[in-house]
Symmetry: C2
Subunit: 273 residues, 2 copies
Amino acid sequence: MKLTSLVTQIRKKESFLCIGLDTDLEKIPSHLLAEDDPIFAFNKSIIDATHHLCVAYKPNIAFYEAYGIAGWKALEKTIAYLNKNHPDLFTIADAKRGDIGNTSGRYARAFFEELQFDAITVAPYMGKDSVEPFLAFSDKQTILLALTSNEGAFDYQTKLVEGRALYKQVLETSKTYKNAENLMYVVGATKAEYLKDIRKIVPESFLLVPGVGAQGGSLEAVCRYGMNKDVGLLINSSRGILYASTEKDFAEAAALKAAELQNRMAIELNKVR
Amino acid sequence: MKLTSLVTQIRKKESFLCIGLDTDLEKIPSHLLAEDDPIFAFNKSIIDATHHLCVAYKPNIAFYEAYGIAGWKALEKTIAYLNKNHPDLFTIADAKRGDIGNTSGRYARAFFEELQFDAITVAPYMGKDSVEPFLAFSDKQTILLALTSNEGAFDYQTKLVEGRALYKQVLETSKTYKNAENLMYVVGATKAEYLKDIRKIVPESFLLVPGVGAQGGSLEAVCRYGMNKDVGLLINSSRGILYASTEKDFAEAAALKAAELQNRMAIELNKVR
């Protein structure tokens, strides 16, 4: 998917919401457990109820791998369902992969070619040759971890490297990678005030922002510091939407939560019109 | 598996060889492609021919995920075959995973509980709460990336953070994590001279050392700088063993290459007796 299509979708839907499909058999409504594939049944219901309110879906691969082959099958069905029924939606494999060159190429093939995701999240620690094999796919986006939303972000990411924080070094260095125009970045909403500095380094790039909602980040603060002329933001919510209800009305409850976020996003978009 | 059992195996076999099962359908002998599951058929032949020469096997998960469900099935069969027939061998899922706390817990469950690997490789970028869910599994080892064998290692890992290289910061900080006694570290053989400094920070820990062979690292240099009183080293070789021959004699050829490495390891072990 071209980024221009994503921007068009955002303007049309007045939404830059990404819904994280972190589907957990211990949290989904119990009546779904009788289904052949409860994970896919849950995802399908969520997608059917929310696709008009968001522009992206982001399954976190850990939740699927935890169930082995059954999980992988549910992931395959979910991405196939999205690609068939909602080709306009941006799809992100939240995989946080990264390995030496030829091996990263394998992960790229797995998520871009086999599963046909539009984007994948990638960890930066192993540097250039671990990231470039993902960037080699034109029309695909590689979303590099910069500043994550968790406590552990302060272990290394905010430490000073040659006078500036490691996450800034990651942003700056990655701009020199081949096909860097295919890069996006993960920046946690729990650290919205950092966005001002981040925008000085990557003014044009799209940022994937987790941590709004359950993790405590503020949507409005993220917009204030992070929005650029093409919006440039995808704000993710997972648990807050997926598990809004654990009864039979879970999909409607999810849609209500998604609509609430979409409304707040529409207000932010209209502020800068 | 307890680390003491690994040390016992190393002494008994006079080997600290880990064989990387990076099985690539484009490189395995073509006659195997007619098999129902060519990946597993290849792995089984390699294991049958080499298990007496090594103490560990390390499938890199990228090579399996690249083939979707077929790949995941081959991985399941491989680890089940190892656990059934060679329970004394140490098994490492080379997955380089890492995510926020509850999500890392999912990966831990996938590789430790579902697949029953003894160990997994983990990326450090997201810090403490992304690593500790793996460490919570007693009798399992978490192998943190410190200094990798690729060129990209110089992008961030060797950069100075508060006066010392990031990889040293990773080693030092990780020692404060809960259940840190379950940590091992990845240190590339292509940077063997760094091992002297690394041993000052983690004198007791086991190091998983890739990059000997195809990537140009020296086994003898790694031993000189990295060996401790419990040996403390697992040296990995993948391509150099797996693809020693692409003909019908591939398993024998692999065993010859593994035996060559094992012989050199026996010499190193006897030097320090």
